[in-house]
Amino acid sequence: MSDTINITLKVWRQKDRNDAGQLVAYEANGISTHMSFLEMLDVVNDRLEQAGQEPIAFDHDCREGICGMCSLVINGVPHGPERATTTCQLNMRHFQDGQTIVVEPWRAGPFPVLRDLIVDRSPFDRIMQAGGFVSVNTGGSPDANAIPIGKKEADLAMDAAACIGCGACVAACKNASAMLFVSAKVAQYAHLPQGQVERYDRVQKMVAQMDLEGFGACTNQYECEAVCPKEIPARFIGEMNCDYLKAALKA
């Protein structure tokens, strides 16, 4: 197999929030298959800049799959074709010579485009502000080993806590539902003794904020789970619905 490929990119370009935007084609030749997808975009941008054209704006930061900043829809799939992989860790060896690759921003009403491939994900912060915490102040906490937590429950909490808040779940859902994101945070605390006191209050507040931000309802098609780079299971949505129902009954 050759170590370099030639590809055609069709990239969403949009000047700002109010611009209509359009797909623009770029030829990207001589791309090393060892590159990451974002390194490929770096190369394209370098060539654009040398030609006096403004580079393609995209969100990225850690480039090791944990900060949740990168956010591209690649050939229709958030974070591209590889399972359990963020865009920054997607490698060009998964693409073929001569292939056309369409690159778009997250597409969801609550995530407006700010420029090119960059969207505004601040609704996630506001959902967290509504209840994504345990209400403890710094200081005065009991010894860490004073609350024993079984390994199984601790592991489940960790499975949920692994969410990186990238928003791929929303981008994959035709209803732009944020339920996988919200349920992951709800489940983390629901599986820990520290989260019990505010458990039912929390789920109500976070869901209310989620609705207020304009995210849709779950379609039960689990596209969110399929694209989640951290493989957060959709079963947490079921757990959240259960807690939400209990909360309604308690009230």
Partner: protein, 645 residues
Amino acid sequence: MKLDSKIPGGPIQEKWDRYRFDMKLINPANKRKFEVIVVGSGLAGGSAAATLAELGYKVKCFYYQDSARRAHSIAAQGGINAAKNYQNDGDSIWRLFYDTVKGGDFRAREANVYRLAQVSVNIIDQCVAQGVPFAREYGGTLSNRSFGGAQVSRTFYARGQTGQQLLLGAYSALMRQAGLGAVELFPRSEMLDLVVVNGHARGIVVRDMITGEITSHAADAVVLATGGYANAFFLSTNAKGCNVTANWRAYKKGAAFANPCYTQIHPTCIPQEGDYQSKLTLMSESLRNDGRVWVPKNQGDTRAPGDIPESDRDYYLERKYPSYGNLAPRDISSRAAKEACDDGRGVGPIIGDKARGVYLDFADAIMRLGEDVIRDRYGNLFDMYQRITAENPYKVPMRIYPAPHYAMGGLWVDYNLMSTIPGLHVLGEANFSDHGANRLGASALMQGLADGYFVIPYTIGHYFATSGQKKVTTDLPEFKDAEHAVRERTKKLISIGGKRTVDSFHRELGLLLWDHCGMARNKAGLTAMLEKIPALREEFWSNVAVLGTDASLNVSLEKAGRTADFLEFGELLCRDALERGESCGGHFREEHQTEEGEAKRNDDGFCHVTAWEFTGQDGNAFHVPNKHIEPLEFDNVHLATRSYK
């Protein structure tokens, strides 16, 4: 400028307790009258902003990412140290203190390190109370593991995502305060200058990265928690956005910069593959608990690793450091890898003129423990390695090589974490205080949270109670002048219209620093750098191409501002490395080594902190900065040659 560390008197065990009593307090009803600006939302900044808001102060928190949850603390994998002694294996506050001072090669301030070890235990309690899902044993108690540079198991972890979970804990506390209206958040905002009024830090100038708008913010104190400067090397394990700009702006406004030459090169990173490389990926140091590091015994041995028999392998860490073996501290492990590759025994792709990689082999551990146990311990790290390299580390040894990772140096701070500018406090990696010349694994998370949760909430109150400063507004000329300067600089960057991209300058600077101020440094190389860097800077300001406008989201412009600051900072980094005529920790001067090639400290000449004071510039040429010295006294830990043999 006078460096007064303000270390309290008394025995080291009692200093912090006594000092907490001696500090002046602010009445709860008066706290809301004081405003604090926090720049950065990582472990240090996020925890500080949340805790100060809980106390009642009015807080504004600024960060360049789109959410506070994305600060680069999130990428820390391995763990966080705490002197809990849950394993009953002989750990104590004193031992953590001792290990940290020794690990830092006796170039850290004793009193600060002792306080760090003391509050380490509170951090774990706090994080558990927040719902941080640390790893647990079947009985429900917390699990620990060992880490480089320690012989006890004191590291708490959450799979390979400890930094993420701790940061999400601090972030949840911060979001709670934001929801309560106690903290105002400024995402996608970059601090471009510090404003000093009447000698005190009173505000900042920021650029809104979406609209390009430049605005000022006034407060009663400024807290910088803006991380380290390893991205000066271009290729590092830091996030792409990490930069020295906030620290550098503060330096140019009068904050002393301490020990910039102390940079940490992390031994276990995935090696560079090609020229297009944008960053290097760290593989957690915890892998060295079970992996064995080796290279072929003979030069030019190109056999596949599985075909090289035991007799033709050199397990060089185990050979050179039998008592710590593969768990030797980071600086020592990194240098040993470089030595093996310089000797032509490296493996993997040729970078420059030599193969730059060594094996990290799990075959023995898999044989001893089974693949399932190894998968349980490191599964996500192995997956990540395979995603990037397309090699299966369960079958083929990993290839690793050192990469710039962390900055021990930073803005000089006293015991209160206040810089030489009154009112400007510096936390976490951005300050210089606790790690000396080398940081031990799992200690960065500890320091960030110690500073943010348990130190600054006390010391900032004392500052407010004693500083006697009047309220200021952004109408003052100091603010207008700073804003004007920022606008002029931004306009200038856009108007140059040169031929080279920003990244090409940054890459060139990075390679120069890596070659001459990386894992090994010498006088000739460093002296030459003091001419090469200014020349590159000169070319940058006449030939860089920054496209687009200043009144919109402009990634080129963001990178240009940061690279311009790295081009200035790089000179100070090399100057400090040249000035320190000894080898210690991450600073290895080839002229100063033992016959066996180990670092040779010079305690008579250099048992001190070097803090640099900005003295002005003509155009792009800097005046020689003033050098200040804070002598280090070791009353509790005996100055000794560090040995891990």
